[in-house]
């Protein structure tokens, strides 16, 4: 629309080239120029008027629907006080209830919901780090059609027009649907489009467990283990304390049987058979290394040993040592009928799961240590294989991908990304711009779970409503909303979809939001019977000649979805202590055979495909086997995860999702530098992590004390006494700690701990205030592993304090070794003089490149430290102060035991960390410190640490000694 003379301000404007227009367009901040519709004068005025009206409201990024805070002392919002909301986090098929701390409308920290059966107050490393993904500056920021910026309205118009027929060639692809409201929309969509199909695919799934149940029982069931009731547990390639199960509740149950308070306590016994070294293997009393492909055979042999099955040739393939082990386990299991448990892991084939079921039934464990609920029998790999076949045949016209990243993580043999190009219209709802987004015709920004309404069902049927704590930062929408939009569901907004799925009175709804549980859906409990004949008729998987490769989710990035999460990338792998990388893990003997050392590049070929990946020697890994952690080597990813690690998906095919045979493994030229947070793995015979056995403890309750040796400790000076008021202390039960990293992430979120990047980790500058020291013990080939959470010990005679020239670190009357960041000039003398080396120095400005968006995560109660300043754990002093202020406001003198939880303690699924007042003889921590297992690390230095440890106890089988 041109009126009157044309004036110009610059030559660029006069020439009016596309580049100039683009420059003009980009002159303003992102999103400012998003609205590109041409406006007439009238609409312009209309919009101006509306803008003025809304200007005041625009400042609040609050959802308009009502959500309800936990009544944590504040009735309504008080500026400066955090509010806590209940919500839930989903990972694959599992859901975990959460409490989310928000400050001024910004979610800042994730904690477990104590009411939720799958969390019990704990939160996993993944759940805690997921808050960082909310503020990820690399998220999908707007709707795009092809490469063009578009809008939800435009997509709505398109959808109305496009989805008219009966869904011929229409396919939906999503992750596993565990949301009841999404299920409702899903059903509606499938009714609306009768010829459409909905495919659910997770790269890490429970497919084999479902198949195993179908084989054993003739129907799909989901197993629920009652570890607190099990005296003898056999875990077969099943990291139930780590990555192979919703491990928080299992860890709690398992740990409850490991904390030995008196010599008379009954402790459980864990046998682990595994290929890679897992947290479960580290916690085990006996661990047998075995190739993944041999484990089904092991179970069959165990069945034979227990006279469940006739003798099979299986036994012959086991070595003498393995047989001896098997016999001892069989005897132990048989002696604990109804109180034993056998678990098979998700990588094991169906027949292994079936044998585990059969053995559990034989041992009378059904109904005692294992329960079953009904499950759907859909096999995800088969679903995606069919989809890929249809795509290849050109039968898929429209593919709606809701979440997930199939172009990266679909089985390699399906050739998913190239087949995706044959689909006419690919609509993709995604959180970030990844490999799949790049191939989509429509790219829709997905709402993060902390900014959207939703609901998720945990394994046992507990449903939690997900509440938005902040309005979507980039205008994202949920999968349910997009499916509703496409299918014309009666409710279009996420809130309405969820609210209408659950109905009910407003009061009940509010209570559900408050509690974090809307209902425990009655999941049908089933009492299946095993059909031995069917299992016997199923052949065991063929043995793998040569080297096998095993695929497992990664402790940091899971299946790759957390690749752009800096906290997780920098969280060291619990076993290897590797950050910002993955590696082909192999046994020392395998490395010798291949002639490689850690860091050498390997070329691994399997089924005609190959990858290059550096080798890493892991003592205790099964020989002849290579573990390949999934989720790395992302090519299209945000700035954090791009190019980090090595992609192993090209070797993972749809018929070998757990493990496969490598056709060749050889060393190729080149090497790779790993960034490890711990490079020395032996305790050098020092009494650092003390370990004892149940038997030793029964014989001599003071066995632990004898291991540290007696030290005559005295001071030349009159020492200050700490006997007044609160005297803070901590006890950490090494018997319960599984080394899972949850505390490390909790500390990172609570205390605004920066990440430093791969190169700086290699230089030894990681900032974690609590680290999990991991030591190997025993031989290189058959080591055992112990963990020790190590943070500032708050020494009473702190060596750091007297060497600081400016008195920046000094003692509080409550026994805390305080850090005054403002006073610190950064001589690093304190860190040098710290025998525990728990002090962390800001060598560079770690916050320099931080996006403004990410700063929203910061906890306003904790100072963000500048460069050149020393920092360290302070027992979450901000939480202590908060509780003290609260007590004062309530005119209480004393704080209740357990009123203050440090971040690490709060999130520990094993409840291994206990913090409290040492001056109160009845506090939990005082009682723990009185136990005979209690000891102080480096007590002989007379630094008087306030943190003490309870020695690790194992319960080995005397027959295997």
């Amino acid at each position: 629309m041109k009126t009157g003379k044309r004036y110009w301000r610059s030559l660029g404007e006069l020439s009016d080239t596309p580049q100039f227009r683009e420059w003009l367009h980009r002159e303003f901040p992102e999103n400012a120029s998003e609205w590109t519709n041409h406006a007439s004068r009238r609409t312009m005025l209309r919009l101006m008027a509306a803008s003025f009206g809304l200007a005041g409201l625009a400042a609040c990024r609050r959802p308009t629907e009502h959500i309800f805070p936990l009544a944590k002392g504040v009735e309504d919002y008080v500026p400066g006080n955090p509010l806590f909301y209940s919500t839930a986090f989903a990972l694959g098929s599992a859901a975990f209830g959460l409490h989310v701390e928000t400050h001024d409308g910004r979610p800042t920290k994730i904690e477990g919901n104590p009411n939720h059966p799958a969390s019990l107050g704990a939160a996993s490393a993944f759940a805690q780090a997921s808050i960082l993904s909310l503020y990820d500056p690399d998220r999908t920021r707007s709707v795009r059609q092809g490469r063009r910026r578009s809008s939800w309205e435009a997509f709505g118009e398109f959808a109305k027009d496009y989805f008219r027929d009966d869904g011929d060639g229409l396919r939906f692809l999503s992750g596993e649907v565990i949301s009841p409201s999404l299920e409702a929309v899903q059903q509606h969509a499938l009714q609306r489009f009768p010829r459409a199909r909905w495919i659910e695919y997770e790269p890490v799934s429970q497919d084999q467990a479902i198949a195993g149940a179908e084989l054993a029982f003739g129907r799909a069931v989901r197993s629920h283990y009652q570890l607190e009731k099990a005296d003898v547990v056999l875990a077969l390639d099943c990291d139930f304390l780590g990555l192979d199960a919703p491990s928080l509740a299992y860890t709690r149950a398992f740990a409850s049987r490991r904390k030995v308070s008196a010599p008379k306590s009954e402790m459980n016994r864990l046998y682990a058979v595994e290929c890679n070294y897992s947290l479960t293997g580290a916690a085990a009393d006996h661990r047998l290394q075995m190739r993944a492909s041999k484990m089904a055979l092991f179970l069959a042999a165990l069945a034979a040993e227990l006279k469940l099955a006739p003798e099979m040739p299986a036994r012959a393939q086991l070595s003498d040592a393995e047989l001896r082990w098997l016999q001892a386990v069989a005897k132990d299991l048989a002696a604990h009928r109804g109180r034993s448990l056998i678990l098979a892991g998700p990588r094991q084939p169906a027949v292994a799961h079936a044998w585990a079921h059969a053995l559990n039934e034989l041992l009378g464990n059904f109904g005692t240590t294992v329960r079953f609920t009904a499950a759907e029998g859909k096999r995800q790999v088969e679903q995606i294989r069919e989809l890929a076949d249809e795509m290849a045949a050109g039968r898929v016209k429209t593919l709606v991908i809701l979440g997930g990243n199939p172009a990266y993580d679909a089985p390699a043999d399906l050739d998913f990304s190239s087949r995706l190009t044959k689909v006419r219209t690919v609509i993709r709802l995604g959180l970030e711009e990844d490999e799949t987004s790049a191939l989509a015709h429509w790219l829709l920004p997905e709402a993060h779970y902390l900014e959207s309404w939703g609901d998720v069902r945990a394994w046992d049927g507990a449903v939690t409503i997900q509440q938005p704590m902040v309005a979507p930062l980039f205008g994202g929408r949920t999968a349910a909303e997009v499916a509703a939009m496409i299918s014309g569901y009666p409710y279009q907004r996420a809130y309405d979809i969820v609210r209408n799925r659950w109905g009910g009175a407003e009061a009940a709804w509010r209570k559900a939001l408050h509690d974090g549980l809307i209902a425990t859906e009655q999941v049908e409990e089933v009492k299946p019977k095993t059909r031995l004949d069917r299992i016997l008729a199923t052949p065991l998987p063929p043995s793998v000649d040569g080297i096998e490769i095993v695929f497992q989710p990664d402790a940091s990035v899971w299946d790759g979805r957390f690749a752009n999460n800096g906290w997780l990338q920098e969280a060291p792998d619990p076993i290897t202590k590797l950050t910002w990388d993955n590696a082909a893990l192999l046994a020392p003997s395998t490395a010798r055979t291949l002639g490689v050392k850690s860091g050498d590049m390997l070329l691994i070929e399997s089924a005609g495909r190959q990858i290059r990946i550096p080798a890493m020697i892991l003592p205790g890994h099964a020989a002849g086997s290579i573990t390949l952690p999934l989720g790395y080597g992302r090519t299209k990813c945000g700035r954090v995860g791009r190019g980090v690690g090595f992609n192993v998906y090209p070797l993972r095919t749809s018929n070998a999702m757990g493990f496969a045979a490598a056709s060749s493994v050889r060393k190729i030229p080149g090497s790779h530098r790993f960034s490890l947070t711990q490079e020395h793995h032996s305790m050098e015979g020092r009494p650092i992590v003390l370990e004892t056995t149940m038997e030793e403890l029964r014989k001599d309750p003071r066995a632990v004390e004898k291991k540290t040796g007696r030290h005559e400790l005295f001071s030349l000076y009159k020492e200050p006494t700490y006997d007044q008021g609160n005297q803070w202390g901590m006890a950490i039960d090494l018997s319960a700690c599984t080394g899972c990293n949850a505390c490390l992430l909790a500390c990172q979120a609570e205390n605004n701990i920066p990440i430093v990047g791969k190169a700086q980790v290699a230089r030894g500058r990681e900032m974690h205030w609590i680290r999990l020291d991991r030591y190997f013990e025993g031989s290189d080939e058959e080591p055992s592993i112990v963990f020790q959470p190590m943070a500032c010990q708050q020494c009473e005679n702190a060596p750091c304090e007297n060497v600081c020239p400016v008195a920046a670190t000094s003692h509080s009357p409550e026994g805390l070794n305080d850090m005054a960041y403002n006073r610190c000039i950064g001589t690093r003398y304190c860190a040098n003089n710290c025998p525990y080396k728990v002090r962390r120095f800001n060598f560079l400005d770690w916050h320099k490149d931080l996006d403004a968006l990410q700063k929203n995560q910061y906890n306003p109660d904790v100072t963000v430290r500048m460069r050149g300043v020393m920092e360290k754990c302070n027992y979450c002093v901000q939480r202590i102060q908060e509780a003290k202020i609260k007590a004062k406001a309530e005119s209480r003198r004393a704080l209740r035991d357990g009123e203050i939880l440090t971040a690490c303690q709060q999130t520990c699924p094993a409840e291994a960390i206990v913090f409290g007042n040492l001056n109160d003889p009845n506090s939990k921590v005082s009682k723990l410190k009185k136990q005979a297992r209690n000891y102080q690390v480096l007590a002989e230095l007379n630094v008087k640490p306030r943190t003490s440890y309870l020695a690790k106890v194992r319960n080995p089988n005397p027959e295997l000694a």
């Binding site: 711990q678 490079e679 020395h680 793995h681 032996s682 305790m683 050098e684 015979g685 020092r686 650092i688 700086q760 230089r763 030894g764 500058r765 990681e766 680290r771 020291d773 991991r774 030591y775 020790q788 190590m790 060596p799 007297n802 060497v803 600081c804 020239p805 400016v806 008195a807 006073r823 610190c824 000039i825 950064g826 001589t827 690093r828 003398y829 860190a831 040098n832 003089n833 025998p835 525990y836 080396k837 002090r839 962390r840 120095f841 800001n842 060598f843 560079l844 400005d845 500048m866 460069r867 050149g868 300043v869 020393m870 690390v937 480096l938 230095l941 630094v943």
Partner: protein, 460 residues
């Protein structure tokens, strides 16, 4: 007041062979020494200062880069919180000790041979302390707050320093040392500055040296006060020779870290300091003697004496190493034992064996008179000793820190380019200052040498 007059019979032994050769007269000495700073500046000086000045500029750039970015531009890490920074600090402080020893202790012991070298050695002390001072000030994370180390009234800290910290003791020890050394050097310069003033041809020189010589006229009264002041300053400096490095060693000895926490450190550090200081004096004087043609004033006898001191202190250092190892094993402390075993066989064994070779074995060559009087040989050995003593500090600091109590926190230190350039730059600064000194001030204490000549002549 002590009688400092030299009686001829005392001198017989000391002056044989003579300390001033070539039959120089009083006038010759004045001409020779003053002539150096009055003649036209030679080209070689410009070239030399061009090189060292560039290195000093590199130091400036590196420090600016450090302040702009943080300590992370160095290789320091956790657990190795101190590395090249404090190594360089102790190295430079140690270098300074020879100057003070020569000017103060040898003065009190009436070692007349000190007169030819004391001026340059004292200057070297000052320059070394200046280089040393850079490191503790810039090694802190927030150097703009480094003034908090000094007990100056300030509203932002608003409290006293922590007087229990050895780092604070360092501040006092080093600043006292720098002040006393500067005073001592300046007082010693006064008569010679006056000579330069009197000989000055240009207005500028007259004015500058006139100002600097504080009205010195060489009257008996002046000499009397001068001698008294000099003696007092020598008395003040003498304990500093021992105390400064003792306190520097407390930085380590007071800690709880195995390899640091040892009571042998004070004497061991002092001996090491004198050892390294004399090596540096030889390095510099051999060059100065050659370039400035001072063979008649800095004779082989002077050099021979210094080699003997290097031999003695080098042996003390070697003995200390042995005692350290013995104590580690004898103590029965497993951490201590490990630290020393790790030094000798661990990842830094190369540094330790470099140290042993340079500091213990190399100076033993000075048992041979041939080597003690061979200028190239002693020059080479002095360089080797300098390298060895730098490594000694590196070994003490880095090998003790990199593996201490909890093996999980063990690490490894690798220097960065910035580390290397900062240290190289500090050498540049040191040499630049020395070149300026050699150009503009009398490098030899003219008046003192004349007193030796007097004794020497009187003896014949």
């Amino acid at each position: 007041m002590a009688d400092l007059a030299i009686r001829p019979q005392d001198m017989q032994q000391e002056l044989n062979p003579p300390l001033v050769t070539g039959g120089l007269s009083y006038r010759d000495i004045t001409e020779k020494v003053s002539g150096i700073c009055e003649s036209k500046t030679p080209r070689s000086w410009y070239i030399a200062i061009g090189v060292t000045g560039s290195l000093t500029a590199v130091l400036g750039l590196m420090l600016a880069y450090l302040v702009a970015n943080g300590i992370g531009v160095w290789g320091n890490n956790s657990p190795v919180g101190w590395a090249w920074d404090i190594t360089n600090f102790v190295f430079w402080i140690g270098i300074g000790h020879a100057g003070t020893l020569i000017s103060a202790i040898l003065f009190l012991f009436r070692q007349r041979w000190r007169t030819s070298i004391n001026r340059a050695a004292e200057a070297m002390t000052l320059f070394a302390v200046a280089c040393a001072g850079i490191f503790p000030l810039f090694h802190v994370g927030r150097p703009w707050r480094a003034y908090w180390l000094f007990p100056v009234p300030n509203t932002d800290l608003n409290m006293w320093q922590n007087f229990r910290s050895p780092l604070l003791w360092d501040v006092f020890a080093v600043s006292t040392y720098a002040t006393v050394s500067a005073l001592f050097w300046y007082v010693g310069l006064l008569p010679d500055l006056a000579t330069l003033r009197d000989r000055a041809r240009s207005k500028l020189r007259q004015w500058v040296f006139g100002f600097l010589s504080l009205g010195w006229r060489g009257s008996a009264r002046h000499w009397k006060h001068y001698e008294a002041a000099y003696l007092i300053l020598a008395g003040l400096s003498t304990p500093l020779v021992l105390s400064v490095h003792t306190i520097v060693s407390f930085d380590f000895a007071v800690s709880v870290i195995p390899g640091w926490h040892t009571t042998i450190f004070p004497p061991y550090f002092v001996a090491g300091a004198i050892f390294s200081g004399f090596a540096m004096v030889i390095t510099l004087m051999v060059i100065a003697r050659q370039v400035l043609r001072l063979e008649n004033l800095i004779t082989l006898k002077h050099l021979d004496n210094m080699c003997k001191i290097i031999l003695a202190t080098g042996s003390i250092v070697g003995y200390s190493y042995a005692v350290e190892f013995f104590t580690a094993f004898f103590s029965g402390n497993p951490y201590e034992r490990f630290t020393f075993l790790n030094r000798a066989t661990g990842p830094y064994a190369w540094a330790v064996w470099t140290m042993f070779t340079c500091n213990v074995f190399a100076p033993q060559l000075f048992w041979f008179k041939k080597i003690r009087t061979s200028v190239p040989a002693m020059f080479a050995i002095s360089i080797v000793v300098n390298i060895g003593m730098w490594f000694e500090r590196f070994v003490i600091i880095v090998t003790s820190l990199h593996r201490d109590y909890l093996p999980a926190s063990w690490g490894y230190f690798r220097p960065t380019v910035v580390d290397v350039l900062t240290f190289t730059g500090s050498i540049g600064l040191f040499l630049t200052l020395f070149l300026l000194f050699a150009r503009f001030l009398p490098i030899i204490a003219v008046s003192e040498v004349k007193s030796v000549l007097h004794a020497q002549n009187a003896g014949h």
